[in-house]
């Protein structure tokens, strides 16, 4: 089955390449769309939902330009598989946990995902590794055009694409950049950066979206407004601020290197040591420590490990991924033991395979 094949791979957003990939993990754009001839999800009956799902599936599955998309019936998936898709950022937590007919279509590179029956009938998403919003917009614009060949969207010339929530109406577009900001967290400047972003109408969230904790010093920066600005302007609004945030993070890293070198080396080395030697470790602690090690690699403090390896550990140590790799359901205590074993094995392996460093 598709999901089991995916488990051993990493997916686009953790590829660890692309512009500014030491700080920017991924660039993501999503478009909210609704079919013109059905009520919004809130007023859908079970039959409506089932009809929307089958209409989207029937019309898109048969088309040549969308042949790479594979449809997965989310309502039929086990809880573990739904969590797995959330961890890979292919579906939202809301989509995983809701009821009724719903699906997701994913391409083979895991760059595109198309949620059916989330808050809107369609949530189209494109992800790119590193800082590449223009690439993401180009791809999702074409994908949206292809889908629209087969479906009639709810659209109004004055208000644009009509969405279930008025906060998404117009372009229906959310532009997000996932950034890794450990030095701004250590130097306690992160709140200041957030406040200034909020003042210019940008939203900052944790790794797994609305209301989620900022795990492993990962933050998503995205636009709030969707109406009255066109898509290029929205891409620019987020795109213009990211280099400023990157610059702050680099300055904070320089400060740590120059002014608090012992502290910094100590933090990084202890993190690396714990990950290699722990006998049981929670997902939160793993994220926290991997974040420090990731920064250590980028600053040249750790020579025997590479960024793609760390990115792989970030995803593979998440609860659902760990259970998929272990091919069995594990409770929290069992997961903590298996996670420690996995980390130990992988970090040993990584060092053996890494080129010699002097």
């Amino acid at each position: 089955m598709l999901i089991n094949d995916m488990a051993s791979r990493c997916g686009e957003w953790l590829r660890g390449s692309g512009p500014e990939s030491d700080i920017v993990m991924s660039s993501r754009i999503r478009l909210a769309r609704n079919l013109a001839d059905y009520p919004f999800i809130q007023r859908c009956t079970d039959i409506d939902r089932a009809n929307i799902e089958s209409t989207v599936r029937d019309r898109l599955e048969g088309s040549d330009d969308l042949a790479d998309l594979t449809f997965i019936n989310v309502a039929d998936l086990e809880l573990l598989d739904r969590q797995f898709l959330v961890e890979r950022q292919l579906i939202s937590r809301e989509h995983a946990n809701s009821d009724g007919a719903r699906a997701v279509a994913i391409d083979s590179n895991e760059r595109c995902s198309l949620m059916v029956n989330e808050e809107d009938h369609l949530r189209i998403q494109v992800m790119k590794s590193g800082f590449d919003l223009d690439g993401a917009w180009d791809q999702i614009d074409r994908l949206d055009d292809s889908i629209e060949e087969h479906l009639t969207y709810a659209y109004n010339p004055k208000l644009g694409y009509l969405t279930a929530c008025p906060t998404n109406v117009g372009t229906g577009m959310r532009v997000s950049v996932l950034v890794h900001l450990p030095a701004l967290v250590i130097t306690k400047q992160i709140e200041k950066v957030f406040r200034s972003l909020q003042r210019i109408n940008l939203v900052v969230r944790g790794l797994y979206g609305e209301g989620s904790q900022a795990m492993g010093d990962f933050y998503q920066i995205s636009n709030q407004v969707t109406l009255g600005k066109n898509e290029d302007e929205l891409v620019k609004q987020v795109g213009d601020v990211v280099p400023v945030v990157i610059d702050y993070e680099r300055k904070a890293r320089d400060f740590l290197i120059n002014e608090q070198q012992n502290d910094l080396f100590d933090r990084v080395s202890r993190a690396y040591g714990t990950l290699q030697n722990a006998r049981q470790i929670s997902s939160e602690e793993t994220m926290f420590l991997l974040s420090r090690v990731r920064m250590g690699i980028n600053l040249g403090l750790i020579g025997d490990l590479e960024i793609p390896k760390i990115n792989q550990l970030f995803i593979h140590t998440q609860p659902a991924h760990l259970q998929k790799l272990y091919q069995s359901v594990l409770d929290t205590d069992e997961r903590n033991v298996e996670r420690a074993k996995y980390l130990k094995g992988q970090l040993k392996l990584g060092r053996e395979n890494a080129p010699d460093q002097n």
Partner: protein, 170 residues
């Protein structure tokens, strides 16, 4: 009218929507300022959409007006304004037209604008009314089937087929 909190004349008439019950307040400028400020302090940093909507209605509507507004129902999907206001989600594309007057200031509040300037569907704008009519017909179909009015159900089915057929050719 006297202020409910002091003896000065009441010039602010506020409708509070915090609970399920509507609360009408008549306050002098000083007491009104104090009341609204303590409310603001409890607002989250990024105000929610329903919060913004309630703020807006509080200043623009009397309790009586709001009751009438809350009872209005979209003829296409059947959602009431009250249901929208509580859930923060609209029921169908036609709500943007039917509740347009109330939504317009909300959109300006949220987005700073009220007119779309971005992408439009490549195939041109379809006949939105016939699409909306499909939503209404499907709803009516369920109702008449429940009432076992199969004669009317057959008529509706034919109407749905006609509109869907036009959409296919378009």
């Amino acid at each position: 009218m006297k202020c409910q909190k002091c003896e000065k004349p009441a010039t602010f008439h506020i409708t509070d929507l915090t609970g399920d019950e509507l609360l009408a307040l008549h306050l002098c400028p000083d007491c009104a300022k104090e009341y609204l400020q303590t409310e603001d302090a409890e607002e989250p940093v990024a105000p929610t959409m329903t919060g913004m909507l309630n703020e807006q209605l509080k200043l623009e509507q009397t309790a009586e007006d709001l009751k009438t507004l809350d009872a209005r129902k979209c003829p296409i999907c059947g959602i009431s304004f009250y249901e929208f206001r509580h859930a923060g989600r609209l029921g169908c594309p036609h709500d943007y037209v039917f509740f347009g007057e109330e939504l317009d200031p909300l959109l300006v509040n949220v987005h700073g604008e009220s007119t779309h300037t971005g992408k439009e569907p490549k195939r041109g704008v379809r006949d939105a009314e016939s699409q909306t009519e499909l939503i209404r017909l499907r709803r009516e179909m369920r109702e008449v089937v429940e009432q076992e009015d199969y004669e009317r159900a057959t008529e509706i089915r034919d109407q749905i087929r006609t509109i869907e057929g036009e959409g296919q050719r378009g």
